[in-house]
């Protein structure tokens, strides 16, 4: 247990949301509110922005009380989380170039390793099985036009 603090990652998030609400209000004003009789394009988002500001500020104020906060995760968790996000992003970045088959093999293998699946054959067979499943389901059965990349 650490020392009681006022500030936390959640409070930072609440502040960003409050800021977003203010941006929505200002942008809505620039679209024109119109009148209640003839509502403009900005009227509805203006009130939505206003409600975001009100809710997030009340939550932020309650969050800013000094309190002992349990750690969200340890260093190992952060590493796993980051690797998972990177693997997801790599799928997006590589699929137009390498095509879905190669990317599925690589990324599934990567996910297996991030999830600490030991050995070589198990991750490899899961990767191959997943690639086959994706091919049969999306390409062969549903006729989805998946990126073929260098195999195309």
């Amino acid at each position: 247990m650490g020392k009681p603090t006022r500030w936390s990652l959640e409070a930072a998030f609440d502040s960003i949301i409050t800021g977003l609400g203010i941006v929505i209000i200002i942008t809505s004003l620039s679209y024109g509110l119109g009148t209640f009789r003839r509502p403009g394009p900005g009227l509805y988002p203006f009130f939505v922005g206003l409600s975001i500001v009100i809710f997030s500020m009340v939550i932020l104020i309650s969050e800013l009380r000094p309190q002992t906060r349990p750690a969200l995760f340890n260093r190992g968790d952060v590493k796993t989380l980051l690797f998972m996000i990177v693997a997801f992003c790599l799928w997006i970045l590589m699929i137009p170039l390498l095509g879905y088959v190669i990317v599925t093999l690589l990324v599934t293998y990567g996910f297996c390793k991030i999830m600490r699946l030991e050995g070589l054959w198990k991750p490899l067979s899961i990767s191959a099985g997943t690639a086959l499943f994706i091919y049969l389901l999306f390409d062969y059965w549903l006729y989805i036009d998946l990126p073929k990349g260098i195999l195309g």
Binding site: F36, I52, F55, F111, M115, I134
Partner: protein
């Protein structure tokens, strides 16, 4: 009756029967496994609806939903791990029964109870939906707006521990729905020059991110403990006479209660289990047995969550308003086929409604027949470790969302939503209100604009609309109750994590 007969004729086609079977089976497996909930799985089924038509898609998606309710109970009873949030309560007495060697009986009673509850729920849906649909024909925009306000008030209060967080999530969802070209005046809003945002942000990648990717990240980070599964043999499935006697009324009570709780906005299936369990405990002659393997504490919540699924269909089918995340996905699926559920559905497309009703009767029976002999298999599926299942699920999510619109932009949105959703879950922000806010956003804005124009800019004219006033009155009464309830003690229903 003729309509229902036609529905049975339509649903007994090979495609629809297979869809029903696949939906129910996939739903059961999803209920057993961690990682994919019914919402994400239903979203993944959307490409199938494009291929086989709206009725088939609807049948498959509903199968997933009630199949998941059933599957969730299997792991709750056998390994004390709820596969689905609506089965958390089942763990309490279900696992205790399992420890006493009564796992087979618990599973059998849950299967029969779920079947009875599902059937009663479908009967309720069949009876009430057309009635309410006809009544809703007289609804104008003020009534829709008032109904939406009531739904938002209830949703923010029932979806988690902190109503303010629920309110914020609804507002954020309403904002996301505003992004893009406004169909009423073709005015682009909040696009900031991005072409991809002109058509708006689709809710599916966000739903997949918040429900699927965030759960994947959560499981990846969590430490996995291998559960111990109790072996169940077919001959152990028969409950004793005493267990059967004690289950009859809790199943019936759970069914009726679940159906009406299903009409409420929010995680109705989860809420129905908590309410049902507490009622059974309160009225029981042996409340001391609850928590130690009372059969009533297992069958009643399970009956309630199955029946709640059917109840939750009513707002969707009669008003076109989804009150729960899975029904929001169903709405998206129907809209992909240019079908707008609502009061007109019963006159314009009665075939869809009645085929759907008939298919649910069949699906419910399929679940009962298939699941009992396959209990052992589902128990083994529950043992598949995350290092094996998570890579496969991740790839299915990636390809699933890409295949809906062949859009890489949607995949980015899904991953971004997943990361945000991961943190929001940690901070106990409820996710469902956000998704429902996005889906209901356009209808809400339409209703606001049309109401203001109808009343010539004077919102007070709503006093002359009795239905709208009653709905607003209920919303205000609920808010007042929330303020004064701490002084009298309150009933708290929490969304399990």
């Amino acid at each position: 009756m003729n309509h229902l007969l036609n529905g049975f004729i339509n649903s007994l086609t090979l495609v629809n029967l297979v869809a029903c079977f696949v939906g129910a089976m996939v739903g059961t497996i999803v209920g057993v496994l961690p990682g994919l909930g019914p919402t994400v799985t239903m979203a993944l089924m959307l490409p199938f609806t494009l291929k086989y038509g709206p009725a088939t898609g609807l049948i498959m998606m509903t199968g997933v939903w009630y199949g998941a309710m059933y599957g969730g109970s299997t792991t709750s009873i056998l390994v004390n791990i709820p596969g689905e949030a609506a089965s958390v309560v089942t763990c309490i007495d279900g696992y205790q029964m399992s420890k006493k060697g009564r796992a087979g009986a618990a599973l059998a009673l849950v299967a029969v109870g779920s079947f009875i509850a599902g059937t009663l729920g479908i009967m309720g849906l069949q009876f009430f939906a057309p009635l309410l649909g006809n009544a809703a024909l007289s609804f104008g925009s003020p009534e829709y707006l008032a109904f939406m306000i009531l739904a938002f008030v209830l949703l923010s209060n029932l979806s988690g521990e902190f109503p303010l967080k629920g309110g914020l999530m609804i507002s954020l969802g309403l904002f996301v729905s505003v992004v893009g070209i406004n169909p009423m005046d073709s005015y682009p809003r909040f696009t900031f020059g991005w072409d991809e945002l002109m058509m708006g942000i689709d809710f599916l990648p966000i739903a997949m991110g918040f429900f699927g990717v965030s759960e994947i990240l959560n499981i990846a980070v969590e430490k996995y403990v291998v559960p111990e599964v109790k072996k169940v043999r077919l001959r152990n499935l028969f409950p004793t006479r005493e267990e059967r006697r004690r289950s009859v009324f809790p199943i019936l009570r759970g069914s009726i209660l679940g159906f009406f709780v299903g009409l409420l906005p929010g995680p109705c299936t989860v809420i129905s289990t908590f309410v049902s369990y507490s009622i059974e405990k309160k009225i029981s002659k042996t409340p001391q047995e609850f928590g130690k393997g009372a059969v009533e504490g297992v069958v009643a919540p399970e009956a309630a969550n199955n029946s709640a699924v059917m109840g939750a269909m009513i707002p969707l089918l009669t008003l076109g308003i989804p009150f729960a995340a899975p029904s929001a996905v169903m709405l998206a699926g129907l809209r992909m086929h240019n079908i707008e559920p609502g009061p007109m559905l019963f006159t314009t497309r009665p075939d869809i409604f009645w085929t759907f009703i008939a298919a649910m009767y069949i699906g419910n029976l399929m679940l009962l027949i298939l699941n009992l002999p396959l209990v052992g298999l589902f128990g083994r599926i529950a043992l598949i470790r995350p290092p094996i299942i998570i890579p496969v699920i991740s790839l299915i999510c990636l390809f699933g969302i890409y295949s809906v619109r062949n859009s890489i932009f949607d995949v980015w949105i899904m991953i971004l939503s997943g990361v945000i959703g991961y943190f929001l879950r940690k901070w106990k922000f409820p996710i469902a209100p956000f998704i429902i806010g996005i889906v209901l956003g356009p209808t809400t804005e339409n209703s606001v604009r049309q109401t203001l124009m109808l009343f010539k800019g004077n919102p007070l004219l709503i006093v002359g609309r009795p239905v709208a006033m009653s709905l607003l009155g209920l919303a205000i009464a609920f808010i007042v109750y929330k303020f004064i309830s701490p002084f009298f003690g309150k009933l708290k229903v929490e969304e399990p994590g």
